[in-house]
Amino acid sequence: MAIEARMWRELGLSDDEYQRVLDAIGREPTPTELAMFSVEWSEHCGYPRSRPLLALFPKEGKYAASTDASADAGGVEVRPGLTVLFKMESHNHPSQVEPFQGAATGVGGIIRDIFTMGARPIAVLDPLRFGELDEPLARYLFRGVVNGIAFYGNCLGVPTIGGELRFEEPYKGNCLVNVMAVGVVETDKIARSRAVGEGNPVIVVGNSTGRDGIGGASILASHEFGEDEEKRPTVQIGDPFTEKCLIEACLEALASGAVVGLKDMGAAGLTCTTCEMSAAGGHGMDVDLQKVPRREPGMEPWEIMMSESQERMLLVAEKGREEAVLGIFRKWGLNAVIVGKVTGDGILRVRDNGQVVAELEAKALADPPVYHLPTEEPAYYAEVQSADLSKVLQPNDMGEVLRNVLASPNIASAAWVYHQYDHMVQTNTVVAPGGDAAVLQLKGYTEGIAVTTDGNGRYCYLDPYVGAQLVLAEATRNLVCVGAEPAGVTDCLNFGNPEKPDRFWQFKRCVAGLADACKHFELPVVSGNVSFYNETLDTAVYPTPVLGVVGVLEDVRLHCTIGFKQAGDVVLLLGDTYEDLGGSEYLKRIHGLVTGKPPALDLDRERAVQGVCLAAVREGLAASAHDCSDGGLAVALAECCIGGQIGASITLPADPDGVRLDARLFGESPSRIVLSASPENADRIQQMAAKRGVPVHLLGEVGGDTLTIEAEDGVRISESVAGMDAIWRGAIPSLMSE
């Protein structure tokens, strides 16, 4: 078949890229080869547009990091010899089309990235973003996504221990479904995704291969065969039972020592695994597609090479020990078929029906072009930066404002979601979802880990550089509140069309902000994922970098939760409050405004505040700790009361700079943490803060069944804990029952 321009264009290759293909191989590609280049060089696999910027992320920190670029996930060594691997990925587009299956297969894909490296998956987190929840479409997508994650994750027996929920207009046409997975492995047993050893058998394991997710390739077929689109579903269907067996079989096979390399088939399935394992190992492969178990007759070679059928892996075994490996998969009821062998010549050779349908240097495929795209400050930016928020009128009834903000689905309890997820299986969950971060024990060790995910598209829209830094600040602050020292970061960067200079400007500024903040915090970015083109009809999502951060507890027993514990305990606030209304939930919910500058962030101050909190929890001084973020101080205090089912009497710190009352209550100044402690311990925390130069304010006392907040001019908020609890807990269920 002759290659025509419309074929490579339909497959997503530009004319220049096609010329590069010709230059790289010195002849016209076969249809199968063209398909392979198109997927390997796509943004999805090859990161041609984002790679130069991602290089800014630091790779090292206090905890030894494994950040091998050819690996599926990265991690940090949380104690000598023990590595926690983690990665986050997006499944945005599939979820918008088919929320249940889109989200389910998203969980399946990211879990494979973890066990493909030999790690036992121990946790899933799911930061989610949809349009406003009073719209039926948003509710439909939200319900479908949550049910899909529950369906898949629960069946696997991997607890879903955290995530995020945000509902904002810009996500209406493009929901964001990001999923993070965490696994644990002995450092010296981390498995490699590479093909080495001439003659070693190459084995396809797991589900059969069908025509899933190969929409783009239809151009190759329709050209010759005129087959209808109907036959080519782009939605993949998840099979968690097979995945569960695959986890067990792969870990068992790796433990047998007979596996040389293993890689999961995610995007671009066989193309990606054969080519990347070959390139990583400096070898080639010779595979016969006729041997690949398939679920449909008449599949073309490019369809098999591009199929994104789920729950499949490619494995290279040690020659002579293949029977043992095949036996393990058979025992788990899984397909395992030798499809070819490793070669020494660095060539990826693909046969079908006795014909060579692709013959390429693996390196050429695995080396996509790099683009340096233009940027331009977006039109809205100057306007939001110069917005004058002093004109915003302050409401009279701050109690009513508090109730209203607590009922916002961005603030309200997410229990409706996480009670649908098995978050306790594996019996490691020491702090369950609902707190600042989840805490897991590592059985057999004193140490534990804490995990959180955070994002704030609104801040990043208003100022991508500062916004991205605020996200890292909040995520790390969440970790110190439970008593964990931040150790490593993964990210999922969700943006609009990078070919639009204003969108790419957002991307570039976010990456720069994040890279600088990670360096400041001495945190490695160990893995990540980029999702572009989250836009429809010219409306892009907010620029939304979502971070997953893992922290280490020296002693997992010394952890802390957000709820106030005991009447008579003293309530303290670490950090100062400024007039930070820009981008706040209060401004949006009460005044309908998304504008202003996001809060200013002083990275040194942030680290100092976090240091005091971490020390207070690690020394067992704090009875509770909760970071002040979305919704501000009033919401943080309400959550401390609800968490502990006990009230508190609070007096706002006297304010020398004349910060307005609404900002003192609902402004979102970062670098603040609410602590409670016995009077003696509170003294010690105050001394500790003073010694480190961290501002600390005495707010009041725990007790009673009401939260009262008093300012200079009297009591401004007095709300019963039961009433706040009902509003906060009931908001999402009541919206979802509509």
Partner: protein, 234 residues
């Protein structure tokens, strides 16, 4: 820690089981009891005093929970073992498999709320007659996690009357104060039933997960009472 015991536990692994290591950890690390895993293809259960069918999603729970697993080779042996008086405990999916296999009366339906529910609940001990609850007291309230999508227990009138007549209802979902109310029922199960035993009392199935609250750091250690009861049985 419990002292050494002669009681030997076997935990069956079906494809799709996912609470077997948790149960192993509770029994072995927390209680100091000897435990083995039993692959679902096995048919020899000699040497065990108590066989546990653990939680999870055997065969993905495709079709109906427990429907496929109950035909595993091991199940014939498990039923024979039970007939001879061996102790068989089914937790969550294990309970569902027992119902499908007819080892206990009734059937399991989808939770009335239509979703999986994972949370701590309260459980009232309805009887202390039998090997699984003898370390508890009647009316005692346990705090224990559940995590299931199909725990809505159903039995027809005759079967229910039978269960009552023979004191086979072992646990009911209750409030913290031990009241049996509709609000305390997380899944819609008949009369708040959370666990039942057979007439001979050697077979118990329950939806909650005692293995998830056997280690105090996880928020409750009430699950240990089940293990302590069993260990007393020897």
């Amino acid at each position: 820690m419990a002292t050494a015991t002669k009681m030997r536990f076997g935990i069956v692994i079906f494809p799709g089981s996912n609470c077997e290591t948790d149960t192993w950890h509770a029994l072995n690390d927390q209680m100091g009891a000897p435990v083995d895993y039993i692959w679902h293809g096995e048919t020899d259960l000699s040497g065990y005093d108590c066989v546990i069918l653990p939680g999870g999603f055997s065969y993905g729970d495709y079709l109906r929970t427990g429907a496929v697993a109950r035909f595993s080779p091991v199940m014939g042996a498990v039923m024979e073992f039970a007939d001879k008086g061996g102790l068989v405990l089914g937790i969550c999916n294990g309970f569902q498999i027992m119902l499908e296999a007819g080892m206990l009366p009734g059937a399991m339906m989808r939770n009335v709320c239509q979703t999986l529910v994972c949370k701590y609940v309260h459980l009232r001990v309805e009887t202390t007659d039998g090997p699984y609850t003898r370390a508890m007291s009647k009316g005692q309230v346990l705090r224990i996690p559940i995590a299931h999508g199909e725990g809505n227990y159903y039995a027809d009138e005759a079967a229910l009357a039978d269960l009552k007549r023979n004191d086979q209802i072992v646990f009911r979902f209750s409030t913290a104060e031990g009241e049996i109310t509709p609000e305390a029922n997380p899944n819609g199960s008949l009369e708040n039933i959370a666990g039942i035993c057979n007439r001979e009392r050697n077979v118990l199935g329950l939806m909650p997960h005692p293995e998830r609250c056997s280690d105090p750091i996880l928020g409750s250690a009430d699950g240990r009472l089940v293990w302590e009861s069993l260990l007393q049985a020897v």
